[in-house]
């Protein structure tokens, strides 16, 4: 049973560029959440997708956007990159059915903005 997978593993961009990160949830999961983890900090919630719609959003600007596909996979897009966007971007999947809170994380995508 494959866990949460993310691609690419590493990415280098320059300020002002745009980036797209991808996530495939754990088998049987239909909800995807994205987090940003700066070096030495805890992950911060960006947003969550369920049934192809943004269900909840954290305190991140509109430069951060996402999408969920019918197969439950998801993309995170960041526009107009800033140096401060350099971080590990984590995807977590969970079940939206019933009272299931457990979120399982992928290995992350390390983004460096120069």
């Amino acid at each position: 049973d494959a866990g949460v997978t993310q691609s690419p593993t590493h990415l280098i961009k320059t300020r002002g560029q745009q980036v797209t990160l991808r996530c495939s949830p754990k088998s049987g999961h239909d909800t995807v959440s994205w987090y940003q983890q700066a070096l030495g900090q805890g992950p911060q919630f960006i947003f969550q997708y369920y049934e192809e719609e943004e269900r909840q959003r954290g305190n991140f600007p509109d430069r951060f956007s996402g999408h969920q596909f019918p197969n439950y996979s998801s993309e995170l897009n960041v526009n107009a990159l800033l140096l401060g966007d350099s971080a590990l971007y984590l995807c977590a999947s969970s079940s939206g059915q019933g009272y299931q809170e457990t979120q399982y994380f992928g290995p992350g995508t390390r983004l460096l903005v120069l």
Binding site: V4, T31, S33, Y35, G40, Q41, G42, P43, Q44, F45, F47, Q48, Y50, Q56, G58, L90, A92, S94, S95, G96, Q97, G98, Y99, Q100, E101, T102, Q103, Y104, F105, G106, P107, G108
Partner: protein
């Protein structure tokens, strides 16, 4: 405003000792409290979790103690081993019945177990 405060920031424990990490939360709507373990270069892995209807949960060497009135919870690692050396995060969320809301994490504790 940090909604989950975690301490200590770093911790050194001798092999075989007890490691204790504490967290406090502010949002009374939180009703699910997981702990995650993260190794360098990896994503966080769920270790153990608790709901506020119980005061303690034990899984192997890992125990969560929960004090709802004080809005505090802690992780105890018994018989700590060098392989337990990692960064530990407490987190909290409110399960609205339709799946998990976004997790609010503490800032993490860097645990080192000395052989």
């Amino acid at each position: 405003q940090q909604q989950v405060k975690q301490s200590p920031q770093s911790l050194i424990v001798q092999k075989g000792g007890i490691s204790i990490i504490n967290c406090a939360y502010e949002n009374t709507a939180f009703d699910y409290f997981p702990w995650y373990q993260q190794f360098p270069g990896k994503g966080p892995a769920l270790l153990i979790a608790i709901r506020p209807d119980v005061s303690e949960k034990k899984e192997g060497r890992f125990t969560i103690s929960f004090n709802k009135s004080a809005k505090q919870f802690s992780l105890h690692i018994m018989d700590s081993q060098p392989g337990d050396s990692a960064t530990y995060f407490c987190a909290a969320t409110s399960g609205s019945g339709g799946g998990a809301d976004g997790l609010t994490f503490g800032k993490g504790t860097h645990l080192i177990i000395q052989p």
